[in-house]
Amino acid sequence: MFVRLSTGLAALFLLSGAAFAQGAAKPTDPQIAHIAYTAGQLDIDAAKQALAITKNDEIRAFAQDMVRDHTAVNEQALALVKKLKVTPEDNDTSRSLTKQAAAKLTELAKLKGAEFDKAYVANEVAYHKTVNGALESLLIPSASNAELKSLLQTGLKIFQGHEQHAEHVASALK
Protein backbone atom coordinates (compact mmCIF):
# COMPACT_ATOMS: atom_id res chain seq x y z
CA MET A 1 0.00 0.00 0.00
CA PHE A 2 2.65 2.47 1.06
CA VAL A 3 4.86 1.39 -1.82
CA ARG A 4 2.17 1.95 -4.42
CA LEU A 5 1.17 5.34 -3.05
CA SER A 6 4.80 6.28 -2.69
CA THR A 7 5.37 5.59 -6.36
CA GLY A 8 2.73 8.23 -7.01
CA LEU A 9 4.55 10.40 -4.52
CA ALA A 10 7.84 9.88 -6.33
CA ALA A 11 6.19 10.86 -9.61
CA LEU A 12 4.89 13.98 -7.96
CA PHE A 13 8.34 14.71 -6.68
CA LEU A 14 9.71 14.56 -10.21
CA LEU A 15 7.12 17.07 -11.34
CA SER A 16 7.22 19.49 -8.45
CA GLY A 17 10.65 18.95 -6.96
CA ALA A 18 9.08 18.22 -3.59
CA ALA A 19 9.88 15.05 -1.72
CA PHE A 20 6.72 15.32 0.33
CA ALA A 21 3.20 15.31 -0.98
CA GLN A 22 0.12 16.19 1.00
CA GLY A 23 -2.53 13.54 1.37
CA ALA A 24 -0.10 10.74 0.54
CA ALA A 25 0.07 7.51 2.49
CA LYS A 26 0.33 8.01 6.20
CA PRO A 27 3.85 7.00 7.18
CA THR A 28 4.43 4.62 10.09
CA ASP A 29 6.54 5.50 13.13
CA PRO A 30 9.61 3.58 11.88
CA GLN A 31 9.32 5.45 8.57
CA ILE A 32 8.79 8.81 10.27
CA ALA A 33 11.87 8.23 12.42
CA HIS A 34 13.86 7.42 9.29
CA ILE A 35 12.63 10.49 7.41
CA ALA A 36 13.32 12.85 10.32
CA TYR A 37 16.79 11.44 10.93
CA THR A 38 17.63 11.54 7.21
CA ALA A 39 16.42 15.12 6.85
CA GLY A 40 18.69 16.16 9.72
CA GLN A 41 21.68 14.26 8.40
CA LEU A 42 21.28 15.81 4.94
CA ASP A 43 21.36 19.27 6.43
CA ILE A 44 24.53 18.37 8.34
CA ASP A 45 26.10 17.22 5.05
CA ALA A 46 25.11 20.49 3.37
CA ALA A 47 26.61 22.44 6.29
CA LYS A 48 29.85 20.49 6.08
CA GLN A 49 30.11 21.34 2.40
CA ALA A 50 29.52 25.00 3.26
CA LEU A 51 32.21 24.91 5.95
CA ALA A 52 34.67 23.54 3.41
CA ILE A 53 33.87 26.14 0.76
CA THR A 54 32.71 29.41 2.30
CA LYS A 55 34.93 32.30 3.34
CA ASN A 56 32.04 34.27 4.80
CA ASP A 57 31.96 34.41 8.63
CA GLU A 58 28.20 34.63 8.85
CA ILE A 59 27.69 31.62 6.58
CA ARG A 60 30.31 29.75 8.58
CA ALA A 61 28.55 30.52 11.88
CA PHE A 62 25.20 29.52 10.41
CA ALA A 63 26.59 26.23 9.07
CA GLN A 64 28.15 25.50 12.46
CA ASP A 65 24.76 26.12 14.09
CA MET A 66 23.19 23.62 11.68
CA VAL A 67 25.77 20.95 12.49
CA ARG A 68 25.44 21.53 16.24
CA ASP A 69 21.63 21.54 16.37
CA HIS A 70 20.90 18.76 13.90
CA THR A 71 23.52 16.55 15.56
CA ALA A 72 21.86 17.17 18.94
CA VAL A 73 18.38 16.40 17.61
CA ASN A 74 19.53 13.29 15.77
CA GLU A 75 21.33 11.99 18.86
CA GLN A 76 18.07 12.44 20.71
CA ALA A 77 16.20 10.65 17.93
CA LEU A 78 18.63 7.71 18.03
CA ALA A 79 18.29 7.45 21.81
CA LEU A 80 14.51 7.46 21.44
CA VAL A 81 14.28 4.75 18.77
CA LYS A 82 16.64 2.64 20.85
CA LYS A 83 14.48 3.11 23.92
CA LEU A 84 11.30 2.35 21.97
CA LYS A 85 13.00 -0.59 20.22
CA VAL A 86 11.96 0.83 16.88
CA THR A 87 14.11 0.19 13.81
CA PRO A 88 13.96 3.16 11.44
CA GLU A 89 12.70 1.99 8.09
CA ASP A 90 13.97 3.34 4.79
CA ASN A 91 11.21 4.55 2.48
CA ASP A 92 10.56 6.50 -0.70
CA THR A 93 10.37 9.88 1.03
CA SER A 94 13.80 9.36 2.65
CA ARG A 95 15.15 8.20 -0.69
CA SER A 96 13.80 11.22 -2.60
CA LEU A 97 15.18 13.58 0.03
CA THR A 98 18.58 11.92 -0.22
CA LYS A 99 18.55 11.98 -4.00
CA GLN A 100 17.53 15.63 -4.08
CA ALA A 101 20.19 16.58 -1.55
CA ALA A 102 22.90 14.74 -3.49
CA ALA A 103 21.95 16.67 -6.63
CA LYS A 104 22.11 19.93 -4.68
CA LEU A 105 25.56 19.10 -3.28
CA THR A 106 26.83 18.48 -6.81
CA GLU A 107 25.28 21.70 -8.07
CA LEU A 108 26.72 23.78 -5.20
CA ALA A 109 30.16 22.19 -5.49
CA LYS A 110 30.59 24.02 -8.80
CA LEU A 111 30.13 27.43 -7.16
CA LYS A 112 32.57 29.63 -5.28
CA GLY A 113 32.63 32.74 -3.11
CA ALA A 114 29.50 34.88 -2.90
CA GLU A 115 27.74 32.77 -5.50
CA PHE A 116 28.12 29.69 -3.35
CA ASP A 117 27.07 31.53 -0.18
CA LYS A 118 23.88 32.80 -1.81
CA ALA A 119 22.96 29.45 -3.29
CA TYR A 120 23.68 27.60 -0.04
CA VAL A 121 21.60 29.88 2.13
CA ALA A 122 18.76 30.06 -0.42
CA ASN A 123 18.64 26.29 -0.39
CA GLU A 124 18.69 26.28 3.42
CA VAL A 125 15.60 28.51 3.44
CA ALA A 126 13.83 26.30 0.90
CA TYR A 127 14.90 23.05 2.53
CA HIS A 128 13.79 24.04 6.03
CA LYS A 129 10.51 25.31 4.58
CA THR A 130 9.86 21.95 2.90
CA VAL A 131 10.84 19.87 5.92
CA ASN A 132 8.91 22.09 8.35
CA GLY A 133 5.84 21.91 6.15
CA ALA A 134 6.11 18.13 6.08
CA LEU A 135 6.60 17.95 9.85
CA GLU A 136 3.56 20.09 10.45
CA SER A 137 1.14 18.60 7.97
CA LEU A 138 2.29 14.99 7.66
CA LEU A 139 4.91 13.66 10.07
CA ILE A 140 3.66 15.07 13.39
CA PRO A 141 -0.02 14.24 12.74
CA SER A 142 0.95 10.73 11.58
CA ALA A 143 3.20 9.87 14.52
CA SER A 144 1.43 7.51 16.88
CA ASN A 145 4.00 7.26 19.68
CA ALA A 146 3.67 10.22 22.05
CA GLU A 147 7.42 10.57 22.67
CA LEU A 148 8.18 10.52 18.96
CA LYS A 149 5.48 13.12 18.38
CA SER A 150 6.92 15.31 21.12
CA LEU A 151 10.46 15.08 19.72
CA LEU A 152 9.16 16.00 16.27
CA GLN A 153 7.35 18.99 17.77
CA THR A 154 10.56 20.11 19.48
CA GLY A 155 12.37 19.58 16.19
CA LEU A 156 9.81 21.71 14.39
CA LYS A 157 10.40 24.61 16.82
CA ILE A 158 14.14 24.32 16.29
CA PHE A 159 13.89 24.09 12.52
CA GLN A 160 11.47 27.01 12.31
CA GLY A 161 14.18 28.98 14.10
CA HIS A 162 16.68 27.75 11.49
CA GLU A 163 14.36 28.84 8.69
CA GLN A 164 14.11 32.36 10.15
CA HIS A 165 17.84 32.44 10.77
CA ALA A 166 18.51 31.36 7.17
CA GLU A 167 16.11 34.04 5.88
CA HIS A 168 17.94 36.62 7.97
CA VAL A 169 21.33 35.51 6.65
CA ALA A 170 19.96 35.49 3.08
CA SER A 171 18.65 39.05 3.35
CA ALA A 172 21.95 40.21 4.85
CA LEU A 173 23.82 38.82 1.84
CA LYS A 174 21.87 40.90 -0.64
Binding site: A61, D65, R68, D69, A72, V73, E75, Q76, T154, K157, I158, G161, Q164, H165, H168
Partner: protein, 105 residues
Protein backbone atom coordinates in the same frame (compact mmCIF):
# COMPACT_ATOMS: atom_id res chain seq x y z
CA UNK B 1 37.59 43.50 75.72
CA UNK B 2 36.49 41.44 72.77
CA UNK B 3 39.30 39.69 70.97
CA UNK B 4 39.99 41.28 67.65
CA UNK B 5 39.40 38.14 65.62
CA UNK B 6 35.86 37.84 66.92
CA UNK B 7 35.12 41.37 65.79
CA UNK B 8 36.57 40.57 62.40
CA UNK B 9 34.62 37.34 62.16
CA UNK B 10 31.44 39.11 63.18
CA UNK B 11 32.08 41.79 60.62
CA UNK B 12 32.74 39.26 57.90
CA UNK B 13 29.64 37.31 58.88
CA UNK B 14 27.41 40.38 58.91
CA UNK B 15 28.84 41.26 55.52
CA UNK B 16 27.93 37.84 54.22
CA UNK B 17 24.51 37.96 55.78
CA UNK B 18 23.72 41.35 54.38
CA UNK B 19 24.67 40.16 50.91
CA UNK B 20 22.64 36.98 51.15
CA UNK B 21 19.71 38.88 52.59
CA UNK B 22 19.57 41.27 49.67
CA UNK B 23 21.01 39.55 46.64
CA UNK B 24 18.54 37.49 44.73
CA UNK B 25 18.77 34.81 42.12
CA UNK B 26 16.47 35.43 39.22
CA UNK B 27 15.62 32.42 37.13
CA UNK B 28 15.03 32.46 33.40
CA UNK B 29 13.94 29.20 31.83
CA UNK B 30 14.82 28.23 28.28
CA UNK B 31 12.31 25.83 26.81
CA UNK B 32 11.89 25.10 23.12
CA UNK B 33 14.02 28.10 22.15
CA UNK B 34 12.22 30.66 24.27
CA UNK B 35 13.62 32.73 27.19
CA UNK B 36 10.93 32.89 29.84
CA UNK B 37 10.29 35.39 31.23
CA UNK B 38 11.69 37.33 28.33
CA UNK B 39 12.22 40.40 30.48
CA UNK B 40 13.48 40.44 34.07
CA UNK B 41 14.25 43.20 36.52
CA UNK B 42 17.18 42.91 38.92
CA UNK B 43 19.45 44.89 41.22
CA UNK B 44 23.22 45.14 41.17
CA UNK B 45 24.54 42.11 43.06
CA UNK B 46 21.71 39.84 41.93
CA UNK B 47 22.42 36.77 39.88
CA UNK B 48 20.60 35.59 36.80
CA UNK B 49 20.29 31.87 36.43
CA UNK B 50 19.38 30.47 33.03
CA UNK B 51 17.92 26.98 33.17
CA UNK B 52 18.28 25.31 29.80
CA UNK B 53 15.66 22.60 29.34
CA UNK B 54 16.48 22.16 25.66
CA UNK B 55 18.68 19.48 24.15
CA UNK B 56 20.53 22.30 22.39
CA UNK B 57 23.37 24.55 23.37
CA UNK B 58 22.36 28.19 23.82
CA UNK B 59 24.00 31.44 24.83
CA UNK B 60 22.86 34.60 26.52
CA UNK B 61 24.82 37.21 24.63
CA UNK B 62 24.44 40.89 25.44
CA UNK B 63 23.93 43.04 22.35
CA UNK B 64 26.23 45.66 23.95
CA UNK B 65 28.96 42.98 24.40
CA UNK B 66 28.89 43.35 28.22
CA UNK B 67 28.56 39.61 28.70
CA UNK B 68 28.32 36.35 26.85
CA UNK B 69 27.15 33.32 28.80
CA UNK B 70 27.32 29.82 27.38
CA UNK B 71 24.44 27.60 28.46
CA UNK B 72 25.01 23.91 27.74
CA UNK B 73 22.10 21.57 26.94
CA UNK B 74 20.11 20.56 30.04
CA UNK B 75 22.38 22.70 32.22
CA UNK B 76 22.18 25.88 34.24
CA UNK B 77 24.44 28.92 33.87
CA UNK B 78 24.75 31.97 36.10
CA UNK B 79 25.73 35.58 35.71
CA UNK B 80 26.40 38.07 38.51
CA UNK B 81 25.03 41.48 37.62
CA UNK B 82 27.48 44.20 38.59
CA UNK B 83 26.39 47.16 36.54
CA UNK B 84 23.17 49.16 36.32
CA UNK B 85 21.93 49.01 32.75
CA UNK B 86 19.19 47.79 30.49
CA UNK B 87 20.71 45.01 28.48
CA UNK B 88 19.12 43.28 25.52
CA UNK B 89 20.45 39.83 24.88
CA UNK B 90 20.00 37.01 22.40
CA UNK B 91 21.21 33.50 21.69
CA UNK B 92 24.20 33.57 19.35
CA UNK B 93 23.19 30.21 17.87
CA UNK B 94 19.49 31.01 17.55
CA UNK B 95 19.33 34.76 16.96
CA UNK B 96 15.54 34.91 17.12
CA UNK B 97 15.71 34.00 20.82
CA UNK B 98 15.68 37.34 22.62
CA UNK B 99 15.57 38.58 26.19
CA UNK B 100 16.15 41.69 28.28
CA UNK B 101 17.57 42.39 31.73
CA UNK B 102 16.86 45.64 33.55
CA UNK B 103 19.47 46.17 36.27
CA UNK B 104 18.87 48.96 38.76
CA UNK B 105 21.36 50.19 41.43
Amino acid sequence: MTPRWICLAALALSGLLSVSAHAETIQVTIDKLVFSPAEVTAKIGDTIEWINKDILAHTATATNNDWNVAIAPKQTARLLLNKAATVDYFCKYHPNMKGRVLVTP
